[in-house]
């Protein structure tokens, strides 16, 4: 168990402790989330970063009680002192959608195709806030205006298929913001829209968040998206947080080889032209009966024999810079491991090292 010794800081808005999610399937149990803990404070943004299959989306869905009934969940999720899972189980009205809400990845599918967008926004207002139909529709128009939708009066009467992806995502955001939630979970909000509007949408979300003093969990596979928008970053791999820190520390002083690899795999504005990007070799691991070892070891340039002896624990205390690695990059142990592996031409987990992978510097 992670020792919970948070200091005299204010009470977090959302506190997650030792969250486990497993899905029984025909092929065996999928361990999607394996003991995730984090705190999120009022008005802050936490970015959860990881490849697909890392458990970041499952974590988000668990928070929103959106998992299929078959999922086995354990651990504590506390929102402003309330047990969220108990609230969900009791069917508490006006909690989800009012206190916390979520924006999904694909605006093409997250809007009901057979209802006008105005109606879909108004529905939340009518159900949670008891607005009349006409008042709710007017408010929907204002909301669309607030998220930068051109010609909102015309848009409320349109169907989702009449809007472009970027506009649809604005509708989704307007819908999520309707009841002034204190916490917004954005699950890859820009992955499915055109590159040209991604930045607009992200900036819009950031701006709305600041204006409304909302807290946000930004889920993304792209560390670049988190950069400059998140207060804290948690990097997930194979259902675990492998490194977490405040954004500044994480970007300049990362410890986990996976974080490093992620950073190296995205283009940066200050890279020289034609700079070679380094994709991460291999694939994310299978989550059914995972080996009792560091899940990243087979793809890690630093992997040593002890990496295969059990899962490394996350160091340090909640709220501090924590990482789960025995040979952290940027430390002596890490440099030694990388040097040894390069000399051998292959890591202990069997990953061949061809050419210069960039080393630890």
């Amino acid at each position: 168990m992670a020792p919970d010794q948070t200091t005299a800081a204010p009470v977090p808005l959302l506190s997650v402790r030792d969250l486990h999610v497993r899905f029984p399937t025909e092929r065996g149990t999928v361990n999607a989330v394996n003991g995730v803990s984090f705190d999120l404070y009022e008005g802050k943004t936490l970015a959860i970063v990881g490849e697909s299959g890392s458990g970041k989306s499952v974590t988000a869905k668990t928070l929103m009680n959106l998992l299929p009934r078959s999922a086995l969940v354990s651990g504590d999720v506390t929102y402003a002192g309330q047990d969220v899972r108990a609230l969900a189980a009791a069917g508490t009205k006006h909690f989800f959608g009012v206190q916390m809400t979520m924006v999904f990845q694909d605006p093409m599918t997250s809007l009901n195709p057979v209802k006008r967008v105005g109606e879909q926004i108004a529905e939340t207002l009518r159900y949670h806030l008891g607005r009349s139909r006409s008042a709710a529709l007017e408010e929907a128009e204002d909301l669309l205006d607030a998220v930068g939708m051109p010609e909102p009066a015309r848009r409320v009467m349109q169907y989702p298929h009449e809007l472009s992806g970027g506009l649809r995502q604005r509708v989704v955001i307007a819908m999520a913001l309707a009841c002034q939630p204190r916490l917004l979970i954005a699950d890859e909000p820009t992955t499915a829209v055109d590159v040209t509007v991604q930045k607009h949408l992200l900036d819009l979300l950031d701006e709305l968040r600041r204006d409304r003093g909302m807290a946000m969990i930004l889920i993304t596979h792209d560390l670049g998206v988190a950069h400059g928008r998140a207060d804290d970053v948690a990097v997930m791999y194979a259902g675990r947080i492998v490194e977490t820190a405040d954004a500044r520390t994480l970007f300049v002083d990362m410890r986990h080889p996976y974080t490093e690899a992620l950073l190296r795999s995205i283009p940066r504005i200050d890279d020289p032209v034609h700079h070679r990007l380094d994709p991460i070799p291999g694939r994310p691991p299978e989550l059914i009966s995972p080996p009792d070892a560091c899940a990243f070891a087979p793809r890690c340039l630093y992997a040593q024999a002890d990496c295969l002896d059990g899962v490394p624990e996350l160091s340090g205390l909640v709220g501090l810079h924590r990482f789960a690695c025995l040979h952290p990059t940027g430390t002596e142990r890490g440099v030694a491991a990388a040097t040894a592996n390069r000399a051998a031409g292959v890591t202990v987990a069997g990953l061949p090292l061809t050419g210069d992978p960039g080393g630890a510097g």
Binding site: A2, R27, G28, G35, R240, G310, V311, P312, E313, G350
Partner: protein
């Protein structure tokens, strides 16, 4: 942070096993072969037919056997009037009792399987041959032929099935052949649509293109390359189609429009014979035994058919 991630000291052997596992894993991902130490039996779980399927098959085989050899089996004469008293309840002598004319209901029920299964079987074979041929040709050659065939199917489906059957049986003699053909015609359009759809899928595949590149003629491509692939989904739906055909024949017989004559015993005819209010009140067995046997037979056809459909992973059709 996690409770189950305690580091443990393990020996070389276990480390070797882990290493092997990583490599095996990579191999599996690339070759998509069976996973040696993983749960590989899930395929088998989905592909098993189950006890229910075999029960259904046993019933169907028994019924088919009875239908084929009924005249040679030691049943009472099904047409003999006054075999014993009229409307007698089931007894050791007449297992299903006797009907209003004192005929043996058990023997008649068993003989009834003959027409039902013959018509059902013929109809689906006819539907598969004619509908299948039309569907494959339409799907392979496309163009005008496809439009004409498609339109014909559409028109055939525009008649409520029983109404089309009535239109045909009303104008022709109601012999076994005519009734079978009538119901066979009903089967042409649904089967043909399925054949056309699967042909469209396979005609795009590489092996057909390859055959064409190698200079195979159309006839050869259709027979050698397409037919074997299209027959599988069609065959998988045979039993389901047969269930529909058996019910259709029963409905015609119930209306007195199936095969004519006293010798032509049919379940539908027996049920309508026993469905008069007086018979139903006082001699329930006359109608209920054929109802039960027919129900179980159709259920067996549907159940076995549905299992086969799942086994071959064919989509359901709306008849």
């Amino acid at each position: 942070m996690s409770g189950d991630g305690r580091p443990s000291r393990k020996g070389r052997a276990s480390r070797q096993r882990l290493l092997r596992r990583f490599r095996v894993f990579r191999l599996v991902r690339s070759s998509k072969g069976p996973e040696p130490d993983g749960p590989g039996e899930n395929e088998a779980v989905r592909r098993r037919l189950g006890v229910g399927f075999w029960l259904a098959v046993v019933w169907l085989v028994v019924m088919a056997f009875i239908a084929l050899f009924a005249p040679m089996l030691p049943f009472a004469d099904p047409t003999k009037v006054g075999y014993s008293g009229p409307r007698e309840p089931p007894s050791a002598g007449a297992w299903f009792g006797t009907d209003a004319l004192g005929r043996d209901v058990f023997s008649r029920t068993m003989h009834g399987a003959r027409i039902s299964l013959a018509v059902g079987g013929f109809a689906i074979v006819f539907g598969m041959v004619v509908g299948g041929a039309l569907g494959i040709l339409a799907g392979y050659f496309r163009g005008r032929l496809d439009q004409a065939v498609g339109f014909t199917f559409f028109v055939l489906l525009s008649f409520p099935a029983l109404v089309l059957a009535i239109l045909i049986t009303a104008t022709l003699e109601r012999s076994l052949l005519v009734v079978s053909l009538t119901i066979g015609i009903l089967a042409v359009a649904p089967v043909g649509l399925l054949a056309r759809a699967s042909t469209l899928v396979y005609a795009e595949r590489e092996f057909v293109a390859a055959a064409r590149v190698l200079g195979a003629r159309n006839g050869r491509i259709i027979v050698r390359e397409l037919l074997p692939n299209v027959v599988i989904p069609m065959g998988a739906l045979t039993l389901l189609g047969m269930a529909v055909a058996v019910v259709a024949e029963g409905s015609l017989a119930f209306l007195g429009l199936s095969v004519a004559g006293d010798e032509a015993i049919s379940w539908g005819k027996m049920i309508v014979d026993g469905a008069g209010l007086r018979d139903l009140q006082n001699a329930t067995h006359v109608a209920m035994f054929p109802v039960a046997v027919m129900f179980v037979t159709v259920l067996a056809l549907n159940f076995a058919g549905d299992r086969i459909r799942q086994y071959f992973d064919v989509k359901e059709l709306a008849f």
